[in-house]
Assembly symmetry: D2
Homo-oligomer: 380 residues x 4
């Protein structure tokens, strides 16, 4: 591939969006790519205005992803996009990803991947047939110290893993408990847009994915208790799940949007026969290793003592905090590396397989929540 | 009652014991009581030696609690003991408490209270018949900031409670995972001494008790997953429990002795419709209240802004740390107040009712762990 | 100005540089600017290679800033650069800034601004004559919660300020104490490249600037104790300074590169008659306000309760960490706003005046360190 | 000495006192001693009432320490006191200690030891002549993890020490800044009762003592800036001090009572050529060791990995917090050990030499504060 920045398009993410700008900052901050087109909204005015604030050529700002695909396909090859970022509500992910993959465009897609497990499996075969890069933004796996955790667990430094506790408490819907509204929340609480799960789909999948990324453990069976506390909510806003992982490992996963006063408290604890481990997303540049001998060790990012993947995932020396945008930028860098190389080998980003497992997890949790039986086996 | 220090006896707690000295320091530090006799060990040499290090009259050092009861009963009334502290393995609690209560001696007993729920109920009627003080050392409820948490929840400052998460991770058995021994652990892992439960009896009951002390919530039904990770362990060393409290409150309780690198990490989070709350036993002088408005407030002990019970439970000004011994001393102070007053009214210590609930909790958890059904109702 | 990204050039910051990439990421991440040219190194190979990794047109990659200025000036106006980022050792700052300002190019320059106070004053008149934007990257003032601190102090919420404690401990030179080398450190320890000060110039000025940014306080007189612990070091690597600010405010500033095990621990505490304040660069998304009533309040970024400047300086919702790059990007955004508006009014970035004060601070500290008198008045 | 509890008397510390009860709890909690007499107040009613709450024989409750000495001296030897605890305002310390020492009674005295350095030196020769135990309650040196810090520094694990930073911020006088009163503060702000120094005497000496206890370093010269912020205050309520220790070690000591919102924030950082160290009194059971390799290690009390002195100074297993009372109790235990052994060898408590150095420090700081010269040599 010639020596140039990659060209991207975006679907969704117009003015007022939370995740759209994050994708854009993450994709461009390392100077490896630029956005050249987008369908930022189905509202023409909004999409146009979004394109203008991004200094895009107005002719490459669309209202419909199919129109975008068609028009962009007709451009000369030195203008064509290399990848598209899909940052819409869940309901649209599948078809958007499908058409761009089939047109030979690499895809970065927000999670959860699809509306159903069946759809997820279909998408998997589409990705495989396409030969294109498909990445899912399980952003938290992009943090340097998560990679260090993965390294230490995979190297066996913790011994045999016995127990994994992952929590994802948020409290942003708490005001709705008190009957106050919040427009931000609308589509995530609408089954037609978000799918059959609420907080389990939105954040529970992050928790499952984080544990699996670090440990490699697969859920064997689980037992879920889901609740919707918010009056009128059709989807669960809180869930606690007992988990049995394969290999005689016990665990629990919890996710909540009504944990009043919590912000974005994803955290994980892993206990092995030799050491314990703790990482917390809100203080992401540190990793705590707990010894049974009476001390704990806090590693901080940016130091040569860390594994190569962790060092590579950090842009700044120690003591200079990095955050969520940089974590997502690490996923984009891995995607760009794969696109430039024409091969995904050695490129560390969440894949369509992670998306399939995520959808299987969601459906298993929903099945368990509706069941009187204690254990439900993980769906495949 | 005349103006004098109260006189106490101790059963168990000889040289090498962990909890015996804690009871002694807690009972005497405020200058309200002194120990005058004890049966510190069934080994005569050990009991004698223990008595000597405590500067006791050798004639009042025994090897058997029944002998102690008999001999002490024959002493003149200005030498007789006002209370006895029972700090032996669980198997002995019931009978020791019984005989002293029936002899008119007030009792402070370690937890869990008995070996079975049936025994616990019997003890309850014995206590009631005796008219004596019976206190159980659920020590963590003696911390000043736990009392503040209770006050704030009970006053409704958190709004309607939706969710309660209590964890009690320890890692002190981790070395046994690796096949190394630890004499400290012996009786707690022996069903004949400890009862049918391992970590649930030893520390899980603390977790249940702490949540109930603060919130007043009663478990309606639960779903438990227990494990024994340590090779050869006949009792569980790890447990995760989904809990439904009465009043549509969700929760979880976990207890573990194999969480490598954890020390004594009892902690609780409570989420109401208005505020969230966090307290951690290892940093006990602080209470965190989380607001959904974007800030959290950390209250520290020893300040006039706190409720009266919290202020009374603190011996030092702000900024001067207090710890576990002082927490237990608060329980003893409440016991002494009740003994002096001849009435338990307004005396805040854990009672035989807490003991009955604790045993019901243990048996319900064991029932659930053995069941294929998701939910088991709390035994009565 | 037309609707387009701004165009920038860079001097210094080639492969291996720490601060060059930070400027680039900060300048481009918001999609407001792109770099189109640079003189990344005086080594032609290194500069060329750097340009290539940035996908620059090779014809716009230079080895000399004067050559770059001359060639770029000859380009048509729709290619000309709007700003230049100067990220070289201190010795070059003055002349580089001078020539670009005189050529009508806006300048963003690393700190400390110049080699001497005299040079700084000269640069100030050059900036004023030019009418161009000149910004100095006192990056820490770009953090959202630093802006909140400033707001709260300036609004009088802390009452009358009595005391300000700023510390900037680093330990990165510690290995040199033990006789081990570190190439990173070379030019910062060379008076010809760094100027007459070592850690006071490199990080002490950040500390002084942070305190002044938040409180508006000006140093009246100071008393400095400087040390060079590292064998052979010609510049101080540690300094402790007593400060009297105007308005009867006491303070202290310390800076160190030999505080073994510290990373980049800039932190500030401010005590007023009503409240105290604490902020720490290594955990930058939180601001602690301490009440004398027995509680402290921790505000976290991304919440509507914060002042408008703080909210604007944050790109993500609460609970999603932001870091050092985003802090610097906030400075670039303010610069870009000023360039687009053709006016610096309402644009919050560190100016040439901050640079002059910084150099006055450095020279006053050096004067004090060499003096037997207790107090030395701040130079003007 | 026969096998019995030691007998103590107390001077000062009546109802309403802060430090009196702390001494009592500390002295008796380990079952090694009991108080049998006291002159708790010069107000007879108050002293009598205090004696009653302590269940003392009314005939041994006094209003005057000389009367107490005389009456107690006439008691049979099996009732005589072994030690006296002096917990009055500073002005009385010297004479009280003198008369009891001369009467052959061991003394535990609150700090600062005397009103002047000259008095301190006199007391030193009185102590030496008496052959009795004289201990000063620099309580913070009784914490287990302070002993661990001392051990690690003295063993050379930190390498050669370069820098020591000790801070003792309090904010309890902050309300007086706002013109509100506080009876607690009266005598400490009265030069006739407290001596020539305010916060330097009350808490600055703790800071100096802590640094010296851990490192063994002696102040060579210092430079102090003292302030009284509180209107009408005759003594300083804030001080910042540059310190040069012997052996080319730099440091700073600060003490403040107007640091609004701080509680009792004594903390120390020590930087050697190999490692850094941090300990904070408000979280006393942990000791942080900072490595230049990118990690810090937090040791917690109660673990076998710690040095023998630290283990001996802890009464509970890891994870069970200990606090200020236990720290002081460690000092009393060392005193009791010395009394029983009739020798101070191997007994780790603060001595009259610490008191002399403390008074020398206070007078040197006051001299420096009044001087225009930068450095004042430590008085002897």
């Amino acid at each position: 591939m010639e020596n140039r920045k990659l060209r991207g398009g975006m679907i969704g993410g117009g003015i007022g969006s939370f995740i759209g700008p994050v994708h854009r900052m993450a994709a461009i901050m390392d100077g490896q790519a630029e956005y050249v087109c987008g369908a930022f909204s189905s509202d023409p005015k909004k999409s146009k205005k979004s394109g203008k604030t991004l200094y895009l050529n107005p002719s490459r700002v669309y209202t419909d992803y199919k129109e975008m695909l068609k028009k962009e396909a007709s451009l000369p090859s030195d203008q064509k996009i290399d990848f598209v970022s899909i940052v819409t509500p869940n309901v649209f992910h599948f078809d958007m990803a499908r058409v761009f993959l089939e047109a030979g465009v690499n895809v970065v897609c927000d999670k959860p991947m699809t509306m159903t497990l069946a759809e997820a499996k279909k998408l998997k075969s589409i990705v495989e047939k396409s030969g294109k890069v498909f990445a899912l933004t399980y952003t938290y796996t992009g943090y340097p110290m998560v990679k260090q955790a993965r390294y230490m667990v995979r190297q066996g430094l913790l011994g045999k893993i016995n127990k994994v506790v992952v929590e994802y408490p948020q409290g942003w819907l708490a005001n709705r408990l008190e009957g106050k509204g919040s427009s931000l929340s609308i589509w995530r609480m609408d089954p037609k847009m978000a799918g059959a799960a609420g907080c389990i789909g939105d954040i529970g999948t992050h928790a499952e994915n984080l544990a699996r990324y670090i440990t490699g453990l697969e859920v064997e069976k689980l037992c879920a208790d889901l609740t919707h506390f918010i009056p009128g909510n059709r989807l669960e806003d809180d869930g606690s799940i007992l988990v049995n992982y394969k290999g005689d490992v016990k665990g629990s996963i919890s996710a909540s949007q009504i944990s009043t006063g919590e912000e974005n408290g994803l955290n994980i604890r892993i206990y092995g026969t030799k050491l314990g481990l703790y990482w917390n997303q809100e203080n992401p540049n540190y990793l705590v290793i707990k010894s049974p001998e009476g001390y704990s060790t806090t590693y901080s990012k940016g130091n040569p003592i860390l594994c190569q993947d962790t060092q590579s995932a950090s842009r700044l020396p120690f003591g200079h905090p990095e955050g969520f945008i940089e974590a997502m930028a690490n996923i984009y860098l891995a995607v760009f590396k794969a696109i430039r190389a024409g091969s995904t080998s050695g490129c560390d980003y969440p894949t369509v397989d992670d998306g399939v497992t995520g959808m299987a997890f969601i459906e298993t949790v929903l099945t368990s929540a509706a069941s009187d039986k204690k254990w439900v086996r993980m769906l495949k």
